[in-house]
Each structure stands twice: as structure tokens, then as C-alpha cells.
């Protein structure tokens, strides 16, 4: 699917539930795929007894990756030119996350239509876990 500049306007949104009831196993999957084996994410004994957190929590980059899934589903394959986030709250096993993109601006650069997006991913309580922005090529 490819987005057309003529079909977009500022304020338009797209959102997807990117994970429902996040499992510890998916966090393990992400550790294995990314290579980030920080025990804070998968080792409950270390995280609670040594690091002092109430439970193990997801990699920030897993939440960014989940947010990216929503983005590429919407803007299309290979269309992103920029993607950046801030990790504002931790994500825990059991969380359900919804990622949302909002059209900020449509512009043209060297004859190429671009869309700037604001991003926010929230948990089941509506609390933001990631905020950010992205830019994609559109037709």
C-alpha cells in the first residue's frame, strides 16, 4: 500500500494495537533477535533482587520496533526516511500497546512528496510509553 499526498491532511491519524498482553516470551524473542540480553528484560530474579525493579520490563527498542510495525503498515515498504522516539515510560509484561501516527505536515523536497508524522504509543491505561516522529515518502 502506498500513501498519496492528495489523500492526506494535517491532523489525520492512523492507529493499531501492536501488542496485546505482552508476554515475557516475546521479550525473550526480542532479546534473541536483537542481541540485547540485558537481564533487566528477561531475568526476574536479577531484576527484582539486584536491580530493585518490581518486575522485568521490555526493551525500549522492542516498543520502538512495535511502533515501527504500525508505521510501515501505514506508509508502505521502504518508504521511511526518518524515525525517532523517546522512551517515556517503561513497558511491562501484560501491557497492551496501541501505536498512533498523526499527520503533522505535508511538504515537498526536490520534487518528492513527504509526510511528517507525530508518533505516540500508549499502554492500556492510556499512558504514553513512547513519543516520537517520522518522515515518509508519499506519492
Amino acid at each position: 500500500m502506498v500513501l498519496k499526498a492528495s489523500d492526506l491532511q494535517a491532523g489525520q491519524t492512523h492507529e493499531e494495537v501492536v501488542v496485546h498482553d505482552l508476554s515475557r516470551t516475546q521479550i525473550v524473542q526480542y532479546a534473541g533477535a536483537s542481541g540485547d540480553y540485558n537481564p533487566l528484560h528477561t531475568d526476574e530474579v536479577f531484576t527484582t533482587k539486584v536491580a530493585g525493579y518490581p518486575t522485568a520490563f521490555a526493551h525500549g527498542m522492542l516498543t520502538m520496533g512495535l511502533t515501527g510495525t504500525m508505521l510501515t503498515n501505514w506508509v508502505g515498504d521502504g518508504r521511511l526516511t526518518k524515525f525517532g522516539v523517546r522512551f517515556v515510560s517503561q513497558v511491562f509484561p501484560g501491557d497492551t500497546l496501541t501505536a498512533k501516527a498523526t499527520v503533522k505536515e505535508l511538504r515537498e523536497e526536490d520534487g518528492q512528496h513527504l509526510v511528517d508524522l507525530d508518533l505516540e504509543t500508549v499502554n492500556q491505561d492510556g499512558k504514553a510509553v513512547v513519543t516520537g516522529s517520522a518522515t515518509a515518502r508519499v506519492d
Partner: protein, 172 residues
Amino acid sequence: MAVEKFPVEAGHIMLFARAVGDQNQIYYDEDYAKGTEPGGTIAPPTFVQASAQFDPDYGLRPKIGQKWFGSGKNPSGSNAPEEPAAEGEGGGRGGGGTGLHAEQHYEYHRHLRPGDVLHAVSKPGRTWEAEGRRAGKLHFSEGITEYYDQNNELVITARSVGVRTERPVTQG
């Protein structure tokens, strides 16, 4: 991170896409991918983070023959002082403070494909401090990593911000 050779492989892309809940066939079905706009398999937008797999010194991966700081017989392997623990910038340690990821930004000059062989050039960026509401004093540091392909062309520019907290982040 110092990554001298990061071969981008189709199977690795499939595993990474699964981990981030992405069912897009372009990440695992080359026949399908041929019919898409990129004309072949590409990597998901955060895939380059997996370059950690190819950093020989990456501290957040257990290494053969070295004590790992996660739990084993004891809650932390770091409790055994006679053996060195793996070092890592993101490693949580006893004493309460924790290294966490604060921001991540990517600029795509093109998207990665299986068969690409990347190398990375990293340089430190700014550092600053702030007083955190939930975790005491926060020390931020920025790193810029440029990923080049086998033709020495810049493919992705990554900017990462890490934060080291004085004590564990409290919720609320």
C-alpha cells in the same frame, strides 16, 4: 558500538520481524517481496539495532568463559567478586542505579537488504545532566553511529541517547 562486519541475513530479518510482531510477508517471503515496491526483502526499520550481535565487545551478551552479571546460582553473577563480570553500558548493577535507553533516532539513506555487509563508525555526542522526578540525578549521553554498506556508502545514521539513573525508576 564497534561493529566491523555486520552481514544482513534473511533468516535474521525474519526472526527480528517476528520479535517486533510484524507479519509483513516482505520480511520472510522472497517470492512475495519481489512483487512489492522495493522489489525484494528489506529489513524492518529498527533492524540495525541487531548489529549488537556482531560487536565482539558488546557487554549485554554472555560470553563464554566470563562471569555473567545476571542470575545463576545467585541473584547476580556479579556477587562473586573473584571473577570479572561482563561490562556493559546498559547493564543494571547492584546499588540501585541503572543504565537505560532514553532516545533512538534513525535516518534512512536506503533500506537494508539481505546480502548487505555493513560496518559502523561510532562517535560520542553531547552529554548532559538533569534532575529526574522518578530516579534521582540523570546522566545523559549521546552517541552517533553511521552504518556503511559494502560499497562504503552511508545507509543509516543512528543517534542514540542513554541515561544512567541514580536509583531505579519508580512508577507513577
